[in-house]
Amino acid sequence: MWLNLICYASILIFVFGFIAKARKYATMPLHLRWELYPVAHEKKRPYGGSYFEGLNWWRKPREKSLLRDLKYIGQELSFFREYFRRNRGFWYFVYPFHIGFYLLVLWLVLLGYGAILILSDLSIAAHSLSTWGRIIYFLTLIAGVTGFIIGAIGTSGLILKRVIDKELRFYTTPVDYFSLLLVLAVFVSGLYAWYFYDQTFSIIRDHIKSLFTFSPPVNMNPATTTFLVLTSLFFAYMPFTRMMHYLAKFFTFHKVRWDDEPNLRGSKIEKKVIELLNQRVTWSAPHIQSGKKWVEIATEVKFPSETGGSK
């Protein structure tokens, strides 16, 4: 039962950690515009142009393309285009690493779905009488095995690259190596458990079923147990590491790099700006009236006698 408790704890920590992180960024105050071109949703200017290219731009309707936005995201998620274009040496490993991770998640989803089907009296096996049962069986098998192999190759490559490449080694900390080794351990232990103990993934599917039914796990073996403990550790650890960069990337691109929304009179943005300008500021350099509101400081100029820099 302790194994189930570890799994439940891991899921809870991941979910709450994810929500907390997302909430932290989503509730941050509106910032000044700081976009960087090209902006993906710009409809007619694929070379990186903006609506500022138009004469009297504020009189014209803004033309945004959700399709171009989605196309960029799609290319990034499926192919890691930016790494491919700009850092090919890294892409060779970062790409399989992520594909391995995607497949691991897909595999877990398929296992969960398979467990639900079993609970509905459907057999998930190579020779299942149900076509759907056979499809889910093979999809799970392919996702799991290829995910473990590709992920292990990518992760090993990333570790080796960080060890061998001086540029990367210089900036890599013990914690960074630990994170990568943990991911590698997940992939390798999964592959080991599959090959030696659970070639149909039925043991692990049964375990997931036991998680759904709050019952003790059955037919466990040391390899599968090790894999499950490591995977649980990984998911519980992830929200506190840079591995959450996929979430950060969403905010970085949509809320900073591509945020070209103009502040129009009477808009929601304007309302937020007015609130923010009324906050008090405690910066204490000589030219700032510490303790006053932003709006007061910006409109009442204070001339300091001298500052620290010297010529």
Partner: protein, 535 residues
């Protein structure tokens, strides 16, 4: 000096962390491919070294005086830490909290950005100039001193940098080894913005410790708010300059044009750099000629701050930034103009159209736009009579980062040049992937000690290489060539670069703005407007 630097060395005593040798710098094309064509980097005097903290790279941009006592050192560190807390707080830094936090928390240290940084590459890949070096030092200081990590955890997370007066002084100088061109941010697959981190370090130093280069603060924003312009030009002096320019227009073109000042109810308030009045009056004259020919209802302002579009606050201090752009829009409001039009000044473009956008509310939110789309309309819709044959010499275009990568105005200037310059050619890369001129983020006006020498040989090196490459087939001094740089700051930097390498004599490459080329092609002006006289 150590063979290979590690991040921790930022806090270790040493005469100098790196030594810059001309032989290590990125190679330049012909005719600068010979070592004797590389001027030696200016060295600091021993007196300067004794007085200021120069142990980062032997270059001084700010020049922080060394502390006189232990107490002074400790107070400095405490103030830095208090500023750090403010930088990461909602109240004090709502303006950049979200982008800064995202950039601080998620760098994967894949170093994709490094190859895209012109300073790092030009320097021969000096470790301290790597975009991630500065950010990582800053990040590790935050981790250790703000999050209160134990020594063991600091070691495991790599956050074992000692915070001292020395560390901060070096970090402060290092924040002025980045032009904030944000090419690294553009290259980052995650979107980490090392340029922003540099700017926020500068901001912390200015807004909490009162430390900034004199050219930015005392001689920059403070002088602008006090006297009217960072150049020192007063309202009274402006009127004489304007009259002088009118006379010069008549002398050059035979046209009697009055440059309108403080005209209430005009359609456009034209904002340009006061630096142009002194260094490149022909640029403002060209605007006046074009506006006159097109029948545009415009005015300039003679009110304090209203005749100088520069806003150095953009480079180091949010408070000074806001104070200046608020003055600009208040003047426009008083003059009851329909819009503010920005002349050839990159950072004024970005400040007024992009950064200020989320501070200006209600009546202060007056439309602001670049002059480039208007010029495109006049040229490409044949509202001016132009003869491209008058510009029949090789021309290339420099893309100011603030106008192009940071604002997305890419094509109007190109459409104009394609129309009026038969020998127009592009540098590679160009457009949103351009290289900074090397004078970005105010570097072009910083004249402290040996900084100009560093700026020309390192931060401007990539741009210089691009210019030489684009003109390789016509590099002979017998052929005159023109670098079009529609930005005052970039022009300043290109002028310094060309002086440093004696380009005018060796290659006959001239530089100037876009409007000069337009006026040079105007059929009703008999003599060429561009004089090809080096100044």
């Amino acid at each position: 000096m150590k063979e290979k630097l590690v991040l921790k060395d930022i806090s270790q005593p040493a005469r100098q962390l790196i030594e810059i040798a001309p032989k290590d710098l990125m190679k330049l094309p012909y005719p600068y491919d010979q070592p004797d064509r590389e001027p030696p980097l200016k060295q600091l005097t021993e007196e300067q070294r004794t007085k200021y903290e120069a142990s980062l790279d032997g270059v001084l941009a700010i020049g922080i005086p060394k502390p006189k006592s232990k107490e002074e050192e400790e107070e400095f560190v405490e103030k830095f830490l208090s500023g750090l807390k403010k930088l990461l707080s909602r109240e004090n830094n709502w303006v950049f909290l979200q982008p800064l936090t995202l950039s601080l928390e998620y760098c994967l240290k894949c170093q994709t950005c490094s190859e895209f940084c012109p300073i790092y590459v030009s320097s021969g890949k000096q470790e301290i100039y790597r975009p991630t070096f500065r950010s990582e030092v800053f990040r590790r200081i935050i981790g250790r001193y703000l999050k209160g990590e134990s020594k063991l955890l600091s070691k495991l997370t790599g956050r074992d940098i000692e915070l001292s007066w020395l560390t901060i002084a070096r970090l402060a100088e290092l924040a002025y080894r980045c032009t904030l061109c944000r090419r690294c941010a553009q290259a980052c697959p995650i979107g980490i913005d090392n340029g922003l981190i540099s700017r926020e370090i500068r901001k912390l130093l200015s807004q909490e410790l009162g430390i900034a280069p004199k050219e930015f603060h005392e001689l920059g924003t403070v002088q602008q708010l006090k006297v009217g312009s960072s150049t020192g030009i007063t309202s009274k002096a402006l009127e004489s300059i304007i009259r002088f320019m009118e006379e010069e227009i008549e002398e050059k073109t035979g046209k009697k044009i009055r440059i309108p000042l403080d005209k209430k109810g005009a359609d456009i308030l034209f904002l340009h750099n006061a630096g142009e009045f002194l260094s490149w009056p022909e640029n403002i004259e060209a605007f006046a000629i074009i506006f006159d020919a097109a029948g545009i209802d415009w005015t300039m302002s003679s009110e304090l701050v209203g005749y100088d579009a520069v806003n150095y606050g953009a480079f180091y201090d949010d408070v000074q930034l806001a104070r200046i752009f608020l003055k600009h829009v208040q003047i426009a409001q008083k003059l009851k103009v329909n819009k503010i039009l920005l002349g050839e000044c990159g950072h004024a473009h970005k400040v007024m159209c992009v950064v200020a956008d989320r501070v200006l509310t209600g009546e202060l939110n007056i439309p602001r736009e670049s002059a480039l789309p208007l010029l495109e309309d006049l040229v490409c819709n044949e509202k001016l009579k132009l003869d491209p044959r008058r510009n029949n010499f090789p021309v290339t275009l420099h893309d100011p980062c603030n106008v192009v990568r940071l604002m997305g105005i890419v094509e109007p200037q190109r459409r104009i040049l394609r129309r009026i310059c038969p020998q127009f050619r592009e540098m590679e890369p160009h457009g949103v992937e351009n290289y900074c001129c090397g004078g970005g983020s105010g570097f072009a006006i910083m004249a402290s000690m040996n900084f100009p020498s560093w700026r020309s040989s390192i931060s401007g090196r990539m741009k210089f290489k691009q210019i030489l490459e684009v003109f390789q087939d016509v590099i002979s001094p017998e052929i005159k060539k023109y670098v079009c740089a529609p930005c005052s700051n970039c022009k300043g930097q290109i002028r310094e670069l060309f002086n440093y390498y004696n380009v005018w004599e060796n290659c006959n490459i001239f530089y100037g703005g876009l409007v000069e080329l337009i006026v040079n092609a105007m059929v009703d002006i008999k003599e060429p407007f561009i004089r090809w006289e080096w100044r």
